[in-house]
Symmetry: C2
Subunit: 80 residues, 2 copies
């Protein structure tokens, strides 16, 4: 099964990369782009058949390695 | 409204960062992590009220700036 961990910066944490993207979009004529924030999406191929256990383990992976809990939050999705 | 552009590497494109993550996960005891692939998630705050038009514009943004169409594919989500 596949676990998808979406990691994003917490609200209030400055995101210079996102700001640069929003400015570049406006420079290209996308004037409706008010702001942008950039996150990571990590797709993990799991050797696991129980979705509940897969989600639990993916949650541990996020907390231990994939995200920085001080400035980032994350969500987990399990796909077949 | 918010547009979320998920950018991922196409199948077949080597992802050394993802491979390093999978190895690090196994090193931490997550032996079920067979492989990992890393993508970007870009959340764009749009000054736009029509979701269809928002999706269309987000699709153009992805093709013009946010992704490299040679090696990456993308999906668009529209949120309120």
């Amino acid at each position: 099964m596949k676990a998808i961990v979406n990691v994003r910066l917490k609200n209030g944490v400055l995101d210079p990369q996102g700001r640069a993207i929003a400015e570049a979009l406006r420079g290209l004529g996308f004037y409706e782009a008010k702001d942008a924030r950039v996150g990571k999406m990590i797709e993990i191929e799991l050797d696991e058949t129980d979705p509940n256990r897969g989600a639990l383990r993916a949650r541990e992976m996020a907390a231990k390695l994939l995200a920085n809990p001080v400035i980032e939050s994350w969500t987990i999705e399990i796909a077949a």
